[in-house]
């Protein structure tokens, strides 16, 4: 079994995340870059299967700037077998379609039985890349799974939506995306970090994948303008002295919320 996990580097959500008001892109000078928490869970799902099924190969694939090597190596330190890193200045600010086409080509290059991704990245990606990659590859997508069972020939799981819980199954090859209901990523150990240094790490540009980032015949989604909203200020703060519930009721009634 070969599992490809799509991993993305994002600004740490614990830091102050900003958009560059000139380019509209993520401001890389602000919050420090990390492996997205949801993708750590995706790597974990793949590794859990590999632990139980010796001989399983887990390759991580990322489209990210050249500076993202340490983030990608973290997945190797967790236990992934190898990494494929797509780096190309022409892909900076790539829209969703271009991103999906690059990732699909990379996944195909890596070879796979199943692709595991996160359901939603934390930097405003929108949760569409996994389904788009599946369409480019012409295979089923099973998105937002909160439970995942993988066998040699099929993948099944539960996907929760507002309306209810759906039980879905897809024959392999397929693309799945997982929700944060799945377990957190394991910690990296010193031994894992040392081992990661010797693992296969391949770097490739768009042309090597047969992708032309600036194809003028394909429409792109572009940013027109970015504006910052003023931050919110604190209002009244009281310490409860036995009557805070009544004071709050008076405040709410004065605001006309009933």
């Amino acid at each position: 079994m070969k599992i490809v996990v799509l991993i993305k580097e994002v600004p740490d959500t614990w830091g102050e995340r900003r958009l560059d008001l000139e380019t509209g892109l993520s401001d890389r000078s602000g919050a420090s870059p990390v492996l997205d928490e949801i993708d750590e869970r995706a790597v974990e799902a793949a590794l859990a299967y590999a632990d139980a099924h010796p001989g399983t190969e887990v390759e991580v694939v990322a489209m990210a700037p050249a500076s993202s090597t340490a983030t990608i190596r973290k997945a190797l330190a967790m236990g992934a077998t190898s990494a494929l890193h797509i780096v190309d200045d022409a892909l900076r600010g790539a829209d969703l379609l271009l991103t999906a086409e690059v990732l699909a080509a990379a996944v195909k290059r890596a070879g796979f039985d199943v692709v595991i991704a996160g359901n939603l990245s934390t930097d405003g990606g929108g949760g569409v890349i996994p389904a788009m990659v599946a369409e480019v590859l012409g295979i089923p997508q099973l998105t937002g799974l909160s439970a995942l069972e993988l066998s040699d020939s099929a993948v099944s799981g539960d996907r929760v939506s507002d309306a209810g819980t759906m039980r879905v199954t897809g024959d392999l090859p397929a693309v799945v995306s997982i929700s944060e209901a799945l377990p957190e990523g394991r910690f990296t150990t010193f031994k894992g970090i040392m081992a990661a240094k010797k693992k296969p790490y391949e770097t490739m540009d768009a042309a090597a994948l047969g992708i032309e980032p600036d194809d003028p015949t394909v429409a792109r989604y572009i940013m027109l303008s970015v504006a910052e909203r003023p931050p919110r200020a604190a209002g009244t703060k009281i310490v409860d002295e036995g009557d805070a519930g009544e004071k709050l009721a008076a405040f709410l009634l004065a605001e006309g919320v009933l």
Binding site: V168, T169, G170, M223
Partner: protein, 321 residues
Amino acid sequence: MGVALVLIEVLPSGALAATAPGLLAAAARVGEPVAVIVGPADALSGAAAEAAGLGAVRVLTTETVPDALTIPVVDALAAAVDRERPDLVLASNAVESRDALARLAARRRLPLATDVVGVDRDELGVVAHHSVLGGAFTVDGAPTFGTLLATLRPGAVDARLESRPLVVDSLEVVASEVRAARIDGFSETVAPSSRPELRGAAAVVAGGRGVGSREDFALVEQLADVLGAAVGASRAAVDAGYVPAAAQVGQTGVSVSPRLYVALGISGAIQHRAGMQTAGIIVAIDKNPDAPIFDIADFGIVGDLFTVVPQLISALEAHKN
């Protein structure tokens, strides 16, 4: 004026999803709203009539393939795009519709905008509006040319259109034969009493880890009912099993922008604030005077929610009577 196609979801009951009115009203700012409905044969005529009642100028219907996930909807949308040559295809940013638009974008190589809070038209074409990084930034985007696909954040648009006379066309769909995942079963969420839906609610009462247990979460629900509010939660409360995941507010949950947001036993981690800091009035009750939720609260109470909330409920009820 061009056409704006609107994908409308049909619930298992045969009724239209609650997102339908907002989708049609949003799309009408760009073009003539034409609904696309993919559903079970016996639900189509009722659903089409409902869509016309919500302002669809025309309704294109086609029968679904019961057990196949997403692909039949993509095939239908592809057929509708070929037929109508729309300026916009709008769908809800809910998991099923979002997957369908994602695959349509990849199949037809069309630009896609996700989680938009509105769409408009300027001299050059369609413009989409986004509210990102917890509402701290607003971004406008546009396709370089041609049709734009967009998913609309549920609850972001509350405008409504006037009803239209029913015009139905059945849509000719050629199945793509792309392999689909199979739907083995579906268990509907038991309708959460008469409480409003979290997305788009005018008021939200949310509970966090400080509520302490599933049993005590009833207090959060009780206050919600007095205020006519929806129930929300922090990720810690969801992880602890006090409430289903659908109630999670924040970065990786639902983004809400109600008139009133009440946070009970929620510290206000940055990822939680990202989903609620654009609310009109924020009220917080937390034992810890240094909880970051107080930095953005219009009215903050440092205190025990188990003494403050019951008192608040009786005061509000006394006023009602």
